[in-house]
């Protein structure tokens, strides 16, 4: 019998739906199915009712965009938002965890296919056949012939894929045991705790899915055996092979029917039980996480939400959270990726982003008589998240003060989370409550007082802000008084820290030499407020930002560049809504252009270096390539650290941590990072954030690597590579073609053009900005507003692993 005749024999090419299950059995089945559905709907309704207690999250447009406008956004490249495409591709699950992602993909689509299969059966059997029988007197069905065979082969394959995927995930959990799946808390609560139920819930989930799949196949196997191998059933290959196997094992067809009936019931009951179980368990993530991803937006971390518009400051009750935050808590699958990447957790702080989310989830559950069954922590006493007292501030009681203060806001958790949880903004919301009650480190309090009084965390006079310029032999333009192309927002550390002032001067000299038309705000600049906001001192942030916005509006410039990635973040992403909307660059973007175009003529350094991506530059603002372009242009051999690009590891200074005591940490994040770099056998640890210079210089010393590993700002590398001015002319002639790309008029050696001290750079005819600055806009490859090559190309793909090839030297 060949396939053709099988396909033509259409009426017999099908399978019975309720084979051997008679009226009572069917009735029981339908009653149970209805009960399971009702239970499911009840659980889901309870969940939704909880989310509806939350505030508006302002994510309606995000969801619409993820569904309709940009349904494939973020599938290939790293994006702020997610989309149906991302969910369908499981892109966030497989990012940096390919095997897990593929396995999950198989389970995900396997079950979707099986679910669709069940829906099709329902349509055919319970709707079409039933209605036609009642209306026409005879049944009409489409579940036979070609349709049935196609259906069979697809569901068999998808079922097999799900079994294999699930098997891998089970093996991973049971045998491979990646550290992030260890649920041990970052800090034990007094009195102890147990997460055994969580583990039980996980295994119930795995085995539940597994048994549903296996019994489904068993049903098929014993049916085919019982029917004595109808030839067309080769289109159910797994069932066919299984049936052959039980035949080979000696099971007769007659017995097989009984076994089939048994498994049919087991399968049916398991499946119905599972459906009912979904909203009460970890399986909820099947429903919650898709929605959570659709509503996910990293820009809500880059530009933090305003405090909750409630009477009290700081979260106290469920209604203070947004529905997105409440959904975040339920979305967590405890995968532990955030736990693994968190610098605070790695440093021995009590913070683990996973613990934070699970604790908040449990607290919300406790307050709302939640419906979660197994996915709960147990404690001998009802403390912290288990406490039934709803009238206490969450910050400090549910989540400990130190836990909240441990966050560096590096955003690694948000980046790593496969289900779109936004930990950082929730932490800041809770911190706002701590600030309001003054519950903070004395050193932080001092810094905030200094910021309030002097506009800088150093407590130095605001009038001393531009003192670092004293060591220059030219005067930096005052953008308050004269027009400049670029306003340099220098920042606190680059202005006041003695160790960093020389860096700032070096950058000023380089830009001056390259003829860049730039100025500063002098004493009218204040701390940009990025870290103040992340500390949770919203009022002070507003004070500082409004001062800066006024100063910016009164100054004369076109675009801004910053030294500090933290300043860059707030200027770029948070100032626009306060009335200051400018193009904001990082100085590395400017330097990259200047060294590539030859405006800063450099000779190869041939240094072997590694580069540390600042969180606020790489992860927050996707400026990843610019510093690497500089290093290439300088002929440096770049050896990447394992954690690089958007996956960088925090130095520990962000989110105001630089103002707080870190003596309770077992190993500072910066030391962890230096050890990572020390493995690479490089001589230079290159950074592009002023805070990094101080953090890593200290860490290199405390880890004893300061001899072998030099911490250097990238500015210093450019300065070291600059050709001696006297040689510039000669070099241009000698190298000829290689330098042809350099600006057309390399003749006036940059230092010679403005006579030192005598005439201000602005007064000369040739000095203002030459032809360097304008193309910086046109050519600049990393336009922060548009979809730029920097974002789309370098985004998800981390910079090349292993040594980057140094650019070819000059001929």
């Amino acid at each position: 019998m060949n396939a053709f005749t099988v396909l033509t024999d259409s009426t017999s090419v099908t399978r019975p739906i309720f084979q051997d299950i008679h009226l009572i059995g069917r009735t029981i089945f339908y009653v149970l199915a209805a009960a399971a559905t009702v239970t499911f709907l009840y659980g889901w309704w309870r969940r939704v009712a909880k989310y509806r207690r939350g505030r508006s999250a302002g994510r309606g447009a995000t969801v619409r965009s993820a569904l309709f406008a940009n349904p494939f956004s973020g599938v290939h490249a790293r994006r702020d938002t997610s989309s149906v495409g991302v969910i369908a591709a499981n892109a966030t699950v497989s990012r940096r965890h390919l095997a897990t992602g593929v396995a999950h993909f198989m389970v995900f689509w396997g079950f979707i296919a099986l679910f669709i299969g069940t829906v099709i059966l329902t349509i055919d059997y319970d709707i079409l056949r039933l209605s036609t029988k009642l209306l026409l007197g005879h049944e009409i069905s489409f579940f036979y012939g070609t349709f049935y065979l196609t259906y069979s082969v697809i569901l068999d394959t998808m079922g097999l894929a799900a079994v294999l995927g699930l098997a891998y995930l089970g093996v991973r959990r049971a045998l491979i045991k990646p550290p992030q799946l260890n649920y041990a808390r970052a800090e034990d609560p007094p009195g102890g705790y147990s997460r055994a139920k969580m583990v039980a819930g996980d295994w119930l989930f795995v085995w539940g899915l597994g048994l549903i799949l296996l019994t489904g196949f068993f049903v098929e196997v014993f049916r085919i055996r019982a029917e004595n191998f109808p030839p067309f059933e080769v289109w159910s290959p797994v069932g066919w092979l299984g049936a052959r196997l039980v035949q080979a094992l000696g099971l007769p067809a007659s017995t097989s029917l009984g076994v089939h009936t048994f498994f049919w019931w087991v399968h049916a009951l398991l499946a119905l039980a599972f459906v009912a179980y979904i909203p009460f368990s970890k399986a909820l993530h099947i429903l919650a996480d898709g929605v959570n991803l659709l509503a996910h937006d990293k820009s809500g971390t880059r530009s933090l939400p305003a405090p909750a518009p409630v009477e009290h400051i700081g979260y106290q009750k469920i209604e203070d959270f947004t529905w997105k935050e409440l959904l975040d808590f339920d979305s967590c699958t405890k995968c532990g990726r955030c736990h693994a990447v968190c610098p605070a957790r790695a440093a021995g702080a009590p913070l683990s982003p996973r613990d934070l989310i699970l604790d908040l989830r449990q607290w919300v559950d406790t307050q709302s008589s939640g419906v979660t069954l197994l996915d709960r922590e147990q404690r001998p006493e009802a403390t912290g998240p288990l406490s039934p007292n709803g009238d206490t501030k969450i910050a400090g009681s549910v989540i400990s003060t130190r836990t909240l203060w441990s966050c560096t806001t590096c955003m690694a958790c948000v980046e790593a989370c496969p289900v779109g949880i936004e930990h950082v903004s929730t932490i800041v919301q809770l911190r706002r409550g701590l600030v309001d009650s003054g519950d903070m480190d004395p050193t932080l309090q001092k810094a905030l007082q200094n910021l309030a009084q002097q506009g800088n965390s150093f407590g130095k006079s605001a009038r001393m802000r531009a003192r670092w310029t004293k060591g220059l032999d030219f005067t930096i333009k005052d953008a308050r008084k004269e027009q400049v192309k670029y306003l340099w927002f220098v920042g606190d550390y680059a202005s006041f820290d003695d160790r960093l002032q020389e860096n700032s001067r070096a950058l000023a000299r380089l830009l001056h030499t390259a003829g860049v038309d730039f100025g500063i705000l002098y004493e009218d600049e204040r701390n940009a407020g990025n870290d103040v906001r992340r500390v949770g001192e919203e009022g002070l942030f507003e004070l500082l930002a409004d001062h800066n916005v006024n100063a910016l509006q009164a100054a004369h410039f076109e675009e801004i560049f910053t030294t500090d990635p933290h300043s860059l973040n707030t200027l770029r992403n948070e100032y626009p809504e306060r009335g200051a909307s400018y193009k904001v660059w990082h100085y590395t973007e400017l330097l990259a252009h200047l060294v590539e175009t030859g405006a800063i003529p450099v000779e190869p350094l041939n240094w072997r270096v590694t580069y540390h991506d600042p969180c606020y530059l790489a992860r927050y603002n996707s400026v990843i390539e610019a510093p690497r372009r500089i290093l290439r242009a300088l002929g440096c051999e770049l050896v990447e650290m394992p954690r690089n690009g958007a996956n960088t590891f925090c130095c520990g200074a962000g989110g105001g941590r630089i103002w707080m005591d870190d003596s309770y940490l077992t190993e500072r994040p910066s030391e962890n990072r230096i050890r990572e770099a020390a493995e690479l056998d490089v001589n230079y640890f290159v950074v592009s954030c002023p805070k990094d210079v101080t953090m890593y210089s200290d860490a290199a010393k405390t880890t004893g690597h300061d001899g072998a590993l030099m911490v250097q700002d990238i500015t210093q590398l450019v300065a070291a590579a600059v050709r001696v001015p006297e040689l510039v002319g000669a070099a241009v002639v000698a190298s000829g073609a290689a330098d042809a790309a350099a600006p057309a008029a390399p003749s006036p050696t940059p230092t010679a053009a403005p006579s030192p001290g005598a005439s201000a750079p602005s007064s000369g005819g040739e000095s203002p900005a030459r032809d360097v600055a304008p193309p910086t806009i046109a050519d600049e490859p990393s336009d922060p507003t548009a979809v730029s090559p920097e974002r789309s190309a370098s985004t998800d793909t981390e910079p090349a692993k292993g040594p980057a090839r140094p650019t070819d030297g000059p001929p």
Binding site: I313, Q445, Q453, R463, E537, G539, L540
Partner: protein, 258 residues
């Protein structure tokens, strides 16, 4: 218990202090003023006393002090029950004038306890707490590091600190004046949003002062910045070089084996 905390705004020492052209005083025009740090301690201790029992805290400032409103709003934000700006204090009154004016106003306030900073950086003619105590004929204790309810009603226990780490505890009958050196805990933080709330609520009361009649009896001849007479010889070079010089200096005195 009613606690009054007189507060003073003083030049921010972070700033460079400029003198008037004739050198007779400091140039207040461009100077930044901040709350006297000891007054901040005094307010904190007052709030701690309030939190420990039943007390009303009233922060008081003089309109002669630039930006005193800021300090008063901050006091309200931190938990003071009332803030009063006393008007008509004139131009930059000295300690004696302050004591006289405050004593006049305090006369009918029924304060049980006046807590203020032990000193301020510019009290050339002496410190406020003893001057106020003497003016009002009240017992007064300065250099205090804690105030707690006394064993008997109408008394407080204060801890007075001496050099060398010695201290004593005194039982003081109220009403009294206390000059605070340091509160039992660091002054709390006043979140800017709360201060702004207070400003929007406009919670500062005003009350007139009777001008001071007496004088301090001091006549300033001149003011000047101390010349750096004996400036240190600066050691420069790499950390290693500087370390070498320091070790050399010490070993020359036989303090380290070099």
């Amino acid at each position: 218990m009613r606690i009054v905390v007189p507060m003073k705004a003083v030049p921010d020492l972070v700033e460079e202090i400029e003198l008037t052209s004739d050198g007779s005083g400091i140039d207040r025009e461009y100077l930044k003023f901040v709350l006297n740090e000891w007054d901040d301690q005094a307010l904190e201790e007052a709030l701690l006393v309030k939190e420990a029992g039943d007390a009303e805290v009233i922060a008081v400032g003089l309109d002669s002090d630039p930006d005193i409103e800021q300090a008063l709003y901050a006091a309200l934000a931190k938990g003071a029950d009332k803030a009063v700006k006393l008007t008509g204090a004139g131009e930059a009154p000295d300690t004696h004038a302050r004591a006289e004016m405050l004593a006049g106003w305090l006369g009918d306030q029924g304060a049980d306890l006046v807590i203020t900073g032990v000193q301020s950086p510019d009290d050339l003619d002496g410190q406020l707490p003893p001057a106020l105590g003497a003016r009002m004929g009240l017992p007064h204790v300065s250099v205090v590091t804690s105030i707690e309810a006394g064993a008997d009603a109408g008394t407080v226990r204060v801890r007075q600190e001496f050099s060398g780490g010695r201290s004593t505890e005194l039982s003081v009958t109220l009403p009294a004046v206390v000059g605070l050196q340091a509160a039992r805990q660091s002054p709390r933080y006043a979140p800017i949003s709360r201060i702004r709330q207070m400003m929007q609520a406009g919670g500062i009361e005003e009350a007139p002062l009777s001008p001071a009649s007496g004088t301090s009896g001091l006549r300033v001849r001149r003011m000047y910045a101390p010349e750096s007479t004996g400036h240190a010889e600066m050691l420069t070079g790499s950390p290693d070089e500087v370390a070498a010089k320091i070790v050399e200096l010490l070993s020359a005195r036989g303090l380290v084996k070099g």
